[in-house]
């Protein structure tokens, strides 16, 4: 049942021009950035040869590319998630789901999975560019995989938050703005914590950047993974509760 809902979500996405435009725009921008990074790598190569255990192509091209793509996707994610529930509510299709033998958990997970599948496609699309380097260069596949994992976990968290915001609001627009607000806040929250005090550790812990930066460098820590999984889990549970509450209250 979750899968039926997820596939419907994905299908509706691809039947609107939005999904295609997003894929195209991401590809164009990131390809430009990718070319720029390769150019930079080429110009640095003579210097790099002189250094012992110099950073390789993965550090100088792949990691910055993934880091940059995170920003683009931060902009795009709320645009996809804003409609997940609020649009169904606006169109009255939520009543179809509510009157069918499906639980709230299935509805929420179905929608979450649908959006996540779309972003998996985006990740696949992005990762094809670094993979093309395999033709002529040695890629540190471990670091590359860590980068992919970072992207995936980032999305998983972004979508969960966006889904919850969408469940709160009838207007997709306000859901999007609220998602932007929180995501950007979490992005920059560790700026406040640059000094090494107790609070700064706390702000660091809350920050999305703090948890994904290590992974992009190839260091996969359980604490970071737990942060993203917990983040997603909390907002999924909140969405389920929100939908349940709406049946009780109007």
């Amino acid at each position: 049942m979750i899968f039926t809902l997820a596939l419907r979500e994905l299908r509706s996405l691809f039947l609107s021009p939005l999904a295609w435009i997003i894929l195209a725009v991401i590809q164009i921008i990131l390809a430009w950035k990718f070319l720029g990074l390769i150019e930079l790598f080429y110009s640095l190569q003579p210097e790099l040869i002189k250094i012992k255990s110099a950073p390789g192509v993965t550090d100088l091209v792949v990691a910055p590319l993934f880091d940059f793509s995170k920003i683009i996707l931060l902009i795009i994610c709320p645009l996809i998630t804003m409609k997940l529930i609020s649009e169904e509510r606006q169109n009255g299709t939520l009543h179809l789901l509510f009157s069918s033998p499906v639980t709230m958990t299935q509805i929420v997970l179905g929608k979450y999975l649908g959006a996540l599948l779309f972003f998996c496609l985006i990740i696949l699309q992005i990762s094809l560019m670094p993979l093309s380097l395999l033709l002529g260069a040695d890629l540190d596949l471990g670091k590359f995989a860590a980068g992919l994992l970072a992207q995936f976990l980032n999305f998983a968290a972004f979508i969960a938050l966006g889904l919850y915001m969408s469940s709160l609001s009838r207007q997709p627009g306000s859901a999007a703005v609220a998602t932007y607000g929180i995501l950007i806040m979490l992005w920059i929250i560790n700026v406040a914590g640059s000094a090494n005090t107790g609070e700064s550790n706390f702000f660091n812990y809350l920050s999305i950047t703090h948890h994904s930066i290590q992974m992009l460098r190839g260091i996969v820590q359980t604490a970071d993974i737990a942060y993203f999984l917990l983040f997603s889990f909390v907002f999924i549970v909140l969405s389920i509760r929100q939908l349940d509450a709406q049946r009780l209250q109007h």
Binding site: H95, L97, P101, R247, H250
Partner: protein
């Protein structure tokens, strides 16, 4: 017929301080077409939403084929098809895709989906529209897709919230025929504020006003008539009519138009007409004066809503 398909007892629903549904009980048997009537804002939609699990009741019990809707919603909801007042359509999907999705949602087995889809489309006159996008269909066809969605899994109970709103007269006729046809094998609850619609399709009427159920009778009882209109060619003395034993009183509306009162006059129609013919009065019209739903409705609804509903009924 012993077990009702749907049995809702003492439903209550509050919206903040508003008591929108107040102790309404609804029962539906196989073959019933129940018309839920009421002025705007009476609580019809809230009632229906509670019956199909969209809205949680503040109090009361709902059982569907003996399954408690609140305890085991997933089992109970399989037997329900629901068309909300606004058809729940995904405009970007084609009719076929949408119906398949609806069937999957209702846990119909994959193998059966295509044959059930065909049947539902046939019922609703959508055979030609399968490949078209729902967003491109006219409102009438969208409404039909909405109905097809509600019947695709062949539920025992079909709940339709104002199914004929926004349709043209021909479409309304077709939808009414469809509802009558479906009513033979299913139980149907239908809400509307169009009174002739109820008279045309329903066999039971329940009127809800200010959240309370104020009237609940079968159409049969409504049709039982104790008044008869009689139009004659000649002017006669009303007392001559009174000689018939079935008639208790006669009222002359004008020179040759009479209103006869008595018990179960429909059984005595031939007797009365024979009498008129024998006397050579020139019988022009003899008709039963049915209890008009409108009269009942207006009587039960408060003064401020009367005007509105008359307009709707007209």
């Amino acid at each position: 017929m012993s077990n009702p398909l749907l049995n809702a007892q003492h439903l209550h629903r509050y919206y903040a301080d508003t008591h929108a549904v107040n102790d309404v009980s609804i029962e539906l048997k196989q073959g019933d077409i129940l018309g839920l009537l009421g002025p705007n804002g009476a609580g019809k939609t809230s009632c229906m939403q509670m019956l199909c699990g969209v809205l949680a009741p503040s109090g009361g019990e709902i059982s569907i084929k003996g399954i408690d809707l609140l305890d085991r919603p997933n089992q109970a909801k399989r037997h329900i098809g629901y068309l909300p007042d606004k058809p729940p359509l995904y405009n970007e999907l084609s009719v076929d895709e949408y119906l398949d999705f609806s069937a999957r949602l209702r846990q119909v087995e994959r193998k059966q989906i295509s044959s059930l889809r065909q049947q539902a489309k046939q019922h609703c006159g959508l055979e030609q529209q399968g490949k078209r996008l729902i967003g491109h269909l006219s409102k009438g066809y969208q409404q039909r897709v909405g109905i097809a969605q509600a019947i695709i899994h062949q539920p025992d109970i079909i709940i339709l919230d104002e199914p004929t709103v926004g349709l043209d007269p021909i479409q309304i006729r077709e939808i009414r025929q469809l509802i009558c046809a479906l009513g033979e094998n299913h139980g149907i609850i239908l809400s509307t504020h169009i009174l002739p619609e109820v008279q045309a399709v329903c066999n039971r009427v329940q009127i809800i006003h200010h959240g309370k159920s104020v009237f609940n009778e079968s159409m049969q009882t409504l049709k039982q008539s104790d008044q008869l209109r009689l139009r004659l060619q000649q002017n006669i003395d009303p007392s001559e009519l009174q000689s018939l034993h079935a008639i208790s009183s006669v009222q002359a509306l004008n020179e040759n138009l009479f209103l006869l009162s008595g018990n179960q006059l429909e059984k005595h129609l031939s007797e009365i007409s024979q009498h008129c013919v024998n006397k050579g009065w020139g019988l022009l019209e003899i008709s039963l004066q049915e209890n008009s739903l409108e009269q009942i409705f207006v009587k039960l609804s408060s003064a401020d809503t009367q005007q509105h509903e008359k307009e709707d009924a007209a």
